[in-house]
């Protein structure tokens, strides 16, 4: 059995430091909420649909409260108050706001106790629905078990959700266990979630609740046909992170790309906004039984992977502790790593083995999401396919859990129908061919690989010490992760962060907290 000799004291120290770093962030931001969170609460309360000119009603409600200077109370209280006062459902209230028929700030206060109770009541339906969807998944997994690991995960990105459904089913029938629909470029910076079925996207398909539903239904059908539950993935990131968490939860998505820092580093989204949103969205994911995928693979696309081990690990430690704080179980925390080692260097395979196994061993109960080579790929699809073959090998040897199947055409286009077929076929071959190999191998004590892993772990500790000393905000400001520098006060979506008022209530958070931490 391949196993690295790791000093457990260093590991413990890394955990302590990251627990401390992330707790400090949480404490510092505990008084904040965001417009995205409030829109999510509105959705929990049943607000849905768009105005005739296409503005989603959750945005209408929240924008209205922002305009009226009332957002600091949270959307739940004002919606509940209006429901009581007008004897309407939240959806009816929202429609009235859209038509300019009411002003929530002007409605007579129905008494704090009554409003609080109503606020809890209007959100409870969605909480219950999510619990039911989770139970549904569990039942399906019993009925249609997935037995082989790593799960083979492929991407659909046609831009057209109907094509995604065709191609997702096809990929599943070819052997894929997990289907991710990639989002159109630019969606993460939209401060609203598009509505309805969409057929036009660039490099991906818009994430909408209707698209989620359509894909999940298609895959449910295919799952039954194959006798194997096919998981569905989307992106819980960007300016609408918590809203998408809600949509994924009620449409029974199974995984979500959901990173604590990705938005900051790669989309220049405001730090506070991101940290606050990620926590709430992760609570929803946790409750929905969704597995999150963190995005450390992205670091390796902007800096050389050979030297980036410590920053990847440090980020994983922090993502892990942020996740635990949001109530996610280890089994739900799909920490990311990627085979982005430069293929032109000597012993690249040994270095990558060391890193992949280190990640695997440090988080033994987390379903590590292992990502394929991308940056070092060129238009030579044959050579690219060979690189993926070594990635497939390392994945099987080190017992990874979620295997994002590399595409031979990575450098050219989002996958064609045959690209997925060929790549899944290659990954499935390796899963079969190298099945027991890892169990039959051991590393030479203190050899290249052991030493490499130890040195990365040591440097991770140093990095975490540095971050702990400075605090995470300052560390990001100084460009510790992925070589990207961001200001705490900069970035997109900052205007959507607000300080919660004295009467602020988020009944969803309250309910989830009770369920998750009981």
């Amino acid at each position: 059995m391949l196993k690295l000799s790791i000093d457990p004291k260093i590991v413990d120290k890394c955990h302590e430091l990251s627990e401390d770093i992330t707790s400090r962030v949480a404490r510092e931001l505990s008084s904040l909420s965001t417009v995205a969170i409030e829109r999510t609460v509105a959705r929990f309360a049943g607000v849905d649909g768009v105005t005739p000119d296409g503005v989603p009603l959750p945005n209408v409600v929240v924008n209205h409260l922002v305009e009226k200077g009332k957002i600091h109370d949270g959307v739940a209280m004002h919606l509940a108050n209006a429901c009581l006062a007008l004897d309407k459902t939240p959806q009816q209230v929202a429609e009235m706001i859209a038509r300019g028929e009411t002003d929530l700030s002007a409605i007579e206060w129905q008494g704090t106790e009554a409003v609080t109770e109503k606020a809890r009541e209007i959100c409870q339906g969605s909480v219950d629905k999510i619990r039911a969807r989770r139970a549904e998944r569990e039942a399906l997994l019993e009925e249609l078990p997935v037995t082989e690991t790593p799960w083979l995960y492929v991407i659909c990105a046609t831009g057209n959700t109907y094509e995604d459904a065709v191609q997702g089913r096809l990929a599943a029938s070819q052997g894929a266990d997990v289907i991710a629909v990639i989002r159109s470029t630019g969606q993460s910076l939209l401060d609203f979630v598009p509505h309805g079925i969409t057929t036009e996207g660039f490099g991906g398909t818009y994430a909408t609740q209707a698209n989620f539903k359509l894909m999940r239904e298609a895959l449910d059908e295919e799952s039954r046909k194959l006798g194997r539950y096919v998981r569905l993935v989307n992106y819980c990131s960007g300016l609408c992170m918590p809203e998408i968490a809600y949509m994924g939860a009620v449409e029974r998505l199974d995984m979500m790309l959901n990173d604590a820092m990705y938005g900051i580093l790669f989309r220049d989204i405001n730090m506070e906004r991101t940290f606050v949103d990620q926590n709430f969205s992760r609570m929803i994911n946790a409750y929905a039984g969704i597995i999150i995928n963190t995005g450390e693979d992205n670091y390796l696309t902007t800096v050389d992977a050979f030297g980036a081990g410590p920053s990847v690990l440090a980020s994983q430690f922090m993502n892990y502790h942020f996740a635990k704080k949001a109530g996610l179980k280890d089994q739900q925390i799909g920490l990311g790593h990627a085979f982005e080692i430069d293929p032109s260097i000597e012993d690249s395979l040994s270095y990558e083995l060391a890193m992949a196994l280190l990640v695997r061993q440090l988080f033994p109960d987390c379903p590590i999401k292992y990502m394929p080579p991308t940056v070092h790929k060129k238009g030579d699809i044959f050579t690219s396919h060979v690189l993926d073959s070594n990635f497939n090998l390392v994945s099987v040897l080190t017992g990874q859990s979620i295997h994002l199947v590399g595409m031979l055409t990575e450098a050219i286009h989002t996958p064609l129908i045959q690209d997925r077929y060929l790549s899944v076929r290659a990954a499935a071959y390796m899963r079969r061919a190298a099945k027991g190999l890892g169990q039959n191998l051991e590393f030479k004590q203190d050899g290249l690989i052991d030493r490499r892993a130890a040195s990365i772990l040591n440097d991770t500790l140093k990095l975490l010490e540095e971050v702990s000393e400075k605090g995470l905000f300052a560390a990001i400001t100084e460009g510790v992760f992925a070589g990207v520098k961001r200001l705490r006060t900069g970035g997109k979506g900052r205007e959507g962060v607000f300080k919660k008022g004295e009467w602020y209530l988020n009944p969803v958070e309250e309910a989830l907290r009770a369920e998750l931490f009981s």
Binding site: T158, N160, E163, I381
Partner: protein, 267 residues
């Protein structure tokens, strides 16, 4: 197009009857959207790498009818050679309903049915002589069809009481094959041709037909050829009765032989 051509060794359709499709659609390659026409190509041009070579590659793709030709990779693989990988969009569609697919005519029969049919027709086993002819030394494919063990779990002709099989093995000169067929009074001759570089198989296959005709044996035997690059259409063109391509199962051949011999007896 209405000429008989194409592979169609039959096993993929029900019993291999000539598959004139009911579709009438125009079919284009499918990349990630129906009818986007996306095709991948690779080739080498004897031109030194550089902008000129890349432009030549793009033009080569245009000559192939590919619109929006993209050179995804251009690599020097020698001072005077550049290797290209490209993608482009074909806009000319194939009309399915217009295609004529040639395949040997037979219904799929199981072992018992084949044995029965031959017994009913001939009252004795069919004598089958097989060989990899000329300089061809590839016998695995022929053995897969003839030998008891068979292919992919499907037993070979030796396993049928309907056939008396003589497998002459590899590199058999056509003359020896014809002599053996005459000697045994063969009902069928099964030829395997695997090597096709510089079309070496064509001359060899044609020569066999000529020999058989010269000896007046051509009409006495069912003449079959198989191999990874053999199609039924090609076989017909060369004067054979049937051609079998890659992934042929012995049962396909057994079914065909039994039915062909019975058809001939009825005529």
């Amino acid at each position: 197009m209405e000429t008989v051509m194409g592979n169609g060794n039959g096993q993929a359709t029900s019993g291999g009857r000539a598959a004139n499709a009911p579709h009438s659609d125009l079919v284009l390659p499918y990349g990630d959207q129906r009818n986007d026409g996306v095709v991948q190509v690779s080739f080498t041009l004897p031109v030194a790498a550089g902008p000129l070579a890349e432009e030549a590659a793009r033009q080569t793709m245009k000559l192939m009818g590919l619109e929006d030709p993209q050179v995804a990779e251009a690599t020097a693989i020698g001072e005077e050679f550049t290797f290209f990988v490209g993608y482009g969009k074909l806009t000319r569609a194939v009309e399915l309903s217009k295609l004529r697919v040639a395949a040997p005519m037979w219904e799929e029969l199981d072992q018992a049915a084949v044995n029965q049919l031959v017994q009913d027709t001939l009252g004795r086993p069919m004598v089958v002589v097989g060989a990899a002819t000329g300089s061809d030394a590839h016998t695995v494919g022929l053995d897969a069809i003839l030998n008891y063990k068979g292919f992919a779990g499907n037993r070979g002709l030796e396993a049928y009481s309907a056939f008396k099989v003589v497998n002459m093995g590899s590199q058999v000169p056509n003359e020896e094959l014809v002599a053996k067929a005459r000697e045994l009074g063969a009902d069928a001759i099964l030829v395997s041709q695997v090597v096709t570089e510089r079309n070496v198989h064509l001359a060899n296959l044609t020569n066999l037909v000529e020999l058989l005709e010269a000896e007046g044996l051509r009409d006495q035997v069912v003449l079959v050829v198989g191999g990874p690059r053999i199609t039924h259409a090609l076989a017909i063109e060369l004067g054979y009765d049937a051609g079998f391509g890659p992934s042929t199962r012995p049962q396909d051949v057994a079914s065909y032989l039994a039915q062909e011999v019975s058809r001939r007896m009825l005529n």
